[in-house]
Amino acid sequence: MSKPSFVYVTYIRSTPDKVWQALTDPAITERYWYGFRVAANGRAGEYMTAIDPDGKEVHRDVILVSDPPRRLAYAWRPLYDEFKDERPSRVTIDIAPVKDQVRLTVTHDDFDEGSVVLGKITEGWPSVLSSLKSYLETGRALSTPVWSSASEAEVSA
């Protein structure tokens, strides 16, 4: 039986360079990744960091592969208490030109059976990557991540 993993494929009207920059430059991720500043523009062996909208560091993970603008891989272990007992999983991002468009593939794997993180990222990546596609194609990101939509609805009710 294969180990649990997550794969998401989306096609974006953009260029590999723009998609790469959007996934690695914190000034851009902040606009579509629901306020999160994700810096992943280092080389292999350096760190990917993520800062949440409140300014708290929520990731400091090692970059495994950096081959701009084609492939980026980093370890993934959110620095929240609820995940502290899980070992890091692995994110691999492949960016390929298809005709004049881009195919973006996010593969998130190397999870242990029963991983809580796997459940969270299975909800989270589609929300982030849908917002990325909207942002690159229209200049407007999505407003609300799936992980906070319940609390948002309560606030606005």
Binding site: T10, Y11, R13, Q101, S127, S134, E137, T138
Partner: protein, 126 residues
């Protein structure tokens, strides 16, 4: 026409039936469940009917669209094929709804379908 397109079918512009099945459940605009079989590739048709659930759920000012497409046996070539096709179609749908234009143009035809399969194969080999 020699072979009229049956109800519940998806067909190419030349009238050849690509897929056919029936609606199992329709609850607009929240849920659509389909019985679904490929009709134009013998090796896929022989796998029999799959089941596809399409769920639509509002999230703030956006929509969460979930497609769950399953076959009741493992190692399905059909599921491998639609796994390559759905991202193309759903990416186009999102772009069409948000911008009025699609990402990947091209008339649907058996030739175009073959192209999709080549992309899957290339990904599997990489």
């Amino acid at each position: 026409m020699e072979n009229p397109v049956p109800p519940g079918a998806c067909y190419f512009a030349d009238g050849q039936v690509a897929d056919a099945g029936e609606i199992l459940e329709a609850d607009p605009p929240k849920l659509l469940a389909l019985k679904w079989r490929n009709e134009f590739k013998p090796e896929l048709k022989s796998e029999g009917y799959s089941r596809c659930a399409i769920e639509i759920e509002p999230i703030a000012d956006a929509v969460k669209l979930t497609i769950t497409h399953v076959m009741d046996h493992d190692e399905s070539k059909f599921i491998e094929t639609v796994s390559g096709g759905w991202p193309l179609i759903l990416s186009n749908l999102k772009s069409l709804l948000e911008t009025g234009d699609v990402v990947l143009k091209g008339r649907h035809s058996p030739h175009r379908h073959a192209e999709t399969e080549i992309q899957i194969k290339a990904r599997g080999e990489s």
